[in-house]
């Protein structure tokens, strides 16, 4: 019997190795998998490359992971916030590499990884500093920049409900990057508010099918 629901949260991330690329869901705090990030901090992996829209807020979650010195590089669209002091400090000290990616390009690059697209031409950022050095092309009257997929070893996500096959639903704007990150990572680990019996999620309402999910943890 397939059962992706794990009993012990620690087991969910035991195999994360130093140098891994980890996608972390969430837009600000909505959809941020706080408990899984705490697990990752406790687990100890370092030299991580993190993919998230932001670079952490205040002292918990992603900010705590960054503050603990575990992150070598971050790919995000909006690192600078009023309470991104851990990021700011390490970035200014040259201890944290930043790859700044426009938000839609970030989303599409993640989607491309999960969808088997090798590269794509996007109009976003053409002619700007963020396209410097990138291949461009004029297609059908418009200028485009070539962008590549972002693959990950792990995706750490927060969803609302899951069944034992790993089918997921989300709550409101906590959905954000989770469905595309689930598909882009080799191992997708999800914390959920509620686990339900198979069949409790209507097949029409599944947002992330279990094919993209490896491990589920219920967080109380």
């Amino acid at each position: 019997m397939i059962n992706k629901i794990l009993a012990a949260p620690a087991a969910a991330l035991a195999d994360v190795r130093d140098g891994a690329t980890v996608m972390i869901g969430g837009f600000g705090n909505a959809g941020m998998p706080a408990e899984l990030i705490d697990c990752l901090i406790a687990q100890g992996a370092k030299d991580l490359t993190v993919v998230n829209n932001n670079a952490g807020n205040a002292d918990s979650g992603l900010a705590a992971l960054i503050g603990a010195g575990r992150v070598r590089k971050i790919l995000c669209s909006f690192p600078r916030q009023t309470d991104s002091w851990h990021f700011d400090r390490l970035y200014r000290a040259g201890k944290l590499e930043l790859e700044l990616v426009p938000q839609g390009t970030l989303a599409e690059r993640i989607r491309a990884a999960g969808a088997g697209v090798g590269a794509f031409f996007t109009p976003t950022a053409f002619g700007t500093r963020l396209a410097e050095g990138k291949e461009t092309r004029h297609i059908n009257g418009r200028d485009y920049v070539l962008e590549y997929p972002i693959y990950a070893d792990y995706a750490l996500l927060k969803a609302d409900r899951a069944d034992r096959w790993g089918n997921l639903t989300y709550r409101k704007t906590a959905r954000n990057f989770a469905p595309i990150m689930a598909a882009a990572a080799k191992c997708t680990v999800v914390q959920v508010r509620e686990t339900v019996e198979l069949g409790q999620i209507d097949p029409e309402h599944v947002v992330t099918p279990g094919i993209f999910v490896n491990r589920v943890i219920k967080v109380l």
Binding site: N29, G104, T105, A125, K172, R175, N176, I180, V207
Partner: protein, 216 residues
């Protein structure tokens, strides 16, 4: 001369947003546009983080941490709204499905280039968010800004000196002094909004040449 304040600029923008439009409002002044839309006009607001039908701020105590807007402030959703993920959300933007986006800016050029994401200072931590996607993707890009810097220099310029957000994308500029259309042959004054401001004085302040054809 009496300049428009931020709410008056937002109200002036709101006048130009038609019934049924799909609109994305940037953070700051653009966000104010929502509260100036007429109650009887249905406009559907898109929020990059996965909402169509963004509603007003929730009442105190009614906030939901899973329901926020693109500025990460507590939000609501209107009856008829929809949630979706980030790739779908930016497909809407990049694919030309947003009728109007309203952005703030440091500078706008006569060709419609916009600079709004980076001051160009060497030690600044850069952050771009969805600005470049909106600039490149929305059918119409409206810019709201004060017309002049604190030093009195025009933010409407021949060429932007700040790092660009997007090229040739701005269609209309709303400032505390005027409303200006960006067309292929240059800038066209639509309306002077500051009371007591003459065309000649606006032209002097604006720097870049303004075309104007008085209503017949």
């Amino acid at each position: 001369m009496k300049r428009l304040d931020r709410n008056q600029i937002a109200a002036r923008v709101a006048r130009d947003i038609p019934e049924g439009a799909y609109v994305n409002l940037g953070i700051g002044l653009p966000t104010l546009v929502a509260s100036h839309l007429p109650q009887d006009r249905e406009v559907i607001i898109h929020s990059e983080n996965g909402i169509l039908g963004l509603g007003p701020k929730p009442a105190p105590g009614q906030e939901d941490e899973d329901l926020i807007d693109a500025g990460k402030a507590p939000a609501t959703i209107l009856t008829g709204g929809a949630y979706f993920h980030h790739a779908d959300s930016f497909a809407m933007i990049r694919g030309g499905h947003i009728d109007i986006c309203v952005l703030g800016a440091f500078q706008v050029s006569a060709a419609g280039d916009i600079a709004n994401w980076h001051t160009g200072e060497a030690d600044a931590i850069p952050a771009v968010g969805g600005a470049m996607d909106l600039a490149a993707g929305a059918k119409q890009v409206f810019v709201t800004m004060e017309h002049l810097t604190k030093q009195g220099e025009s933010k409407v310029v021949e060429r932007c000196s700040y790092p660009l957000t997007g090229l040739r994308c701005v269609t209309r500029i709303y400032t505390d002094l005027a409303v200006i259309d960006v067309k292929s042959d240059g800038l066209h004054l639509v309306e002077i909004v500051a009371e007591g401001l003459s065309f000649d004085e606006l032209q002097r302040l604006n720097g870049v040449a303004l075309k104007y054809r008085a209503a017949a």
